[in-house]
Amino acid sequence: SQQGEEDPQALSIQEGENATMNCSYKTSINNLQWYRQNSGRGLVHLILIRSNEREKHSGRLRVTLDTSKKSSSLLITASRAADTASYFCATEINAGNNRKLIWGLGTSLAVNP
């Protein structure tokens, strides 16, 4: 079944470094969204990028989308300890008359002070 797959599963970096996470998917999408989850709590929406967009920025976050490769990347620049969290990508697809979000398993990011 179609699923967003994040890579790597876990990432550990030093404060100030950049963190890059990737997401791959299998079928056509309406949009791709990135979410953050702190320590088993609810998810926070970060960025949504539509299928006709290639790049979006929000503060220290940069998301790219390559529909030919069916992949997206999330770059966090100048990371901080507070960025430590799990990051999930979700792809919105059409499912009959409805739309559906397909979630990946997430990348666990640890930013060490």
Partner: protein, 111 residues
Amino acid sequence: EAGVTQSPTHLIKTRGQQATLRCSPISGHTSVYWYQQALGLGLQFLLWYDEGEERNRGNFPPRFSGRQFPNYSSELNVNALELEDSALYLCASSLGADTQYFGPGTRLTVL
């Protein structure tokens, strides 16, 4: 503006019992989504309600059910609880398409 709220925060039940989880969406949002996040697994879609109707259902047995009330709040009911139902249950709301806003979740433990 208040975000999505869920209750209870934690719930401990024994096998065979029934659990009821509640969710209040952001004011004005008509869609409510339920997800299960078991340990070590990603988010698994459970149910989507919009305007009081069930719009979509994930690959879960019928003992997982729910409803959406006229004020758009929602309940998730899990009958005949099994040990593997232990998970974080997340509710999200949205208005129309795109972004979903998540609540803090209910941690269900089945003993």
